[in-house]
Symmetry: C2
Subunit: 430 residues, 2 copies
Amino acid sequence: MAIRLDANQADFEARFQDLLSMKREVSEDVDAIVRDIIDQVKHHGDEALFELTQKFDRFDAREKGLRISQQEIDAAVASIDPDVMAALELARDRIKSHHQRQLPKDDIYEDALGVQLGSRWTAIEAVGLYVPGGLAAYPSSVLMNAVPAKVAGVERLVMVVPTPDGVLNPLVLAAAKLAGVDEIYRIGGAQAVAALAYGTDTIDPVYKIVGPGNAFVAAAKRQVFGLVGIDMIAGPSEVLVIADKENDPDWIAVDLMAQAEHDTAAQSILISDDADFATAVEEAVERQLKTLPKADIAGASWRDYGAVITVADWETGMALSNRVAPEHLELAVANAEEMVEKVRNAGAIFVGRFTPEAVGDYVGGSNHVLPTARSARFSSGLGTLDFVKRSSILRCQPDNLREIGPAAVTLARQEGLEAHARSVATRLNM
Amino acid sequence: MAIRLDANQADFEARFQDLLSMKREVSEDVDAIVRDIIDQVKHHGDEALFELTQKFDRFDAREKGLRISQQEIDAAVASIDPDVMAALELARDRIKSHHQRQLPKDDIYEDALGVQLGSRWTAIEAVGLYVPGGLAAYPSSVLMNAVPAKVAGVERLVMVVPTPDGVLNPLVLAAAKLAGVDEIYRIGGAQAVAALAYGTDTIDPVYKIVGPGNAFVAAAKRQVFGLVGIDMIAGPSEVLVIADKENDPDWIAVDLMAQAEHDTAAQSILISDDADFATAVEEAVERQLKTLPKADIAGASWRDYGAVITVADWETGMALSNRVAPEHLELAVANAEEMVEKVRNAGAIFVGRFTPEAVGDYVGGSNHVLPTARSARFSSGLGTLDFVKRSSILRCQPDNLREIGPAAVTLARQEGLEAHARSVATRLNM
């Protein structure tokens, strides 16, 4: 059973604070191991990759080579059920259309004085995409990371994916092919991150690395950050559902379980203005846990981190939601559209009773890589902007410099930077 | 003397690689000290701030209180020369106009199927701005960080600035006032970063921390990252000037020195297609070093990290520049406008002979907080986007869910996520 809170209880604030500050993640200290692996790849390149892949993934990558060949990819794709391919294609197309709208436009203009200013956007030339092996090998995640990169114009999108015992995951390869990934290597772990950052004889280095991974991958990304860019380090997933009593309790319960089945550290929170409805949802959860294949995981998540909060009104409910800053926010209420306007902090908002979060995980079109652990207070989900960068442009004509230059000279001298002052003054014969 | 390279030399590629991989920064290991300071502030709040400020800044902040009062700010501002105030105001106004154009627009739309999708932007509610004391206390940096935050709509912009021996820096306070900073505290170092991240009785916590600082501040920002957002950690500054022989060698030399005077670890690079002109610039640098107040710093930077590269044509020159990915790029050439189109990696581009980089440091309007150490290959300068975040919006009507939902069910089952599948299927009576 999840904890049950009522915003009108005397001790509510303290208990809500406890909920907010709950630590759901055990951080493993793998920094030293990872530092050693990165050093090996940095100094021994491909040789280190062969050895580490033998050690961790139990096969000799020398046999087929580090790179997964086009034939292997084509064969994998051919093995996939046409229905599944069609579903992946629908997802790919919808993600592509949505992310095309996120492409920023250059803005070059002259201001009132005639100074030319501008922002010019260019794609990052080469990006690496880490895809986990094993349980978390989700083709949907490949699409969510790779499609925006290609939409942004990344020329060289390089995927790494561990293939334990040398076994390929056809769905992951199919998603990569559909998304337009340019190169795929059968390596994983910190060694794959190191190869992307430093390059080897076989693998050219990239400038940014994105994608989820285990503690070793996360630590490796942190360690190479600076040399290359990285995306956010994702924590366990969470959903907050705001629901009135007009909902079917079973619908809301299964939405809470969809989050909970990801991970025992996932968190599902219900906020409702009706105590009886909230109780009905709790009961529905217990019923559903009897038939869900991942009931162990979902049940543990619900028991340890789940919460059901009743509120007197939606103003209170939304204020609490904004303090949680959930990764996913479902608004299953009559006035859902209006309520969107009051959302201040949320990674993604799912509006109305017919938009379960799971549709957004796959085929909605928006991205499912979203800020976790309350970071929606200060960051955004993955999107096209993560694969481009902006150069500012400034051009002064001589008369512009005469107009604004003296102020620069004044400020430079105040800051004690005489060469700065002179670089303007000399052009003005000052 | 800077090193001199010619792109036609046989060993050029190796020597250019050496230039690219030069380490200019000594990373101090202050993590343990910083962890202890953060712990003190986390557990003892204001008391810890008083003690640490007494220890590091040598005054008792209990006397006037941690917060710098409006009277203190007004008095400081009143002491400033009207010319300097006017220069700061011009800078503020120009930075504001430029950054207003960077405000992203919401994009809410219905796609061909009738699914409502969208991106909705909101400002980060509370942001902390670190301003260094001592040498690097630049009022221009206060404007460059604070103005975009206010343009973005940040409601609570909190500045921290150490005041060694209790002495205020009037210029920094004036810049803060002009930029609309809401609260200013007389604290610095890792303790100030900790106070912003965790909050104390006096200081409410913020959600993101920006601004430059020394090794302790940088380490503290890294340690609180995750709990709050942070901006990039800036390294030593650099400029790359592409100049033809039509330039006055003195103009180009002083631009190189303007970068070099920042820091002995700064880097100034000249690329020219004319060897005699390049030599004339080198000679001009030597002359100028005789009269510059910061000749010690600028001379050391030029000697240790400066470079003069001659090329046969601009195509080669631009290819080298894109590999360097300079923080600042000056195009002092006849066809500067055309050349902008070929720039792939640069934080800011200064176009034409009358746009010295220094004008952009103060009054151009674009931001001077820019990606250093070749990170322009994957990141952008500071801007309005750094103070907002995006929530994605998805709304399916029942018939939309009927159309795209089955593909979500298919993919969820492929990924072994049955509750995901059911949360869609149950709404479709599947």
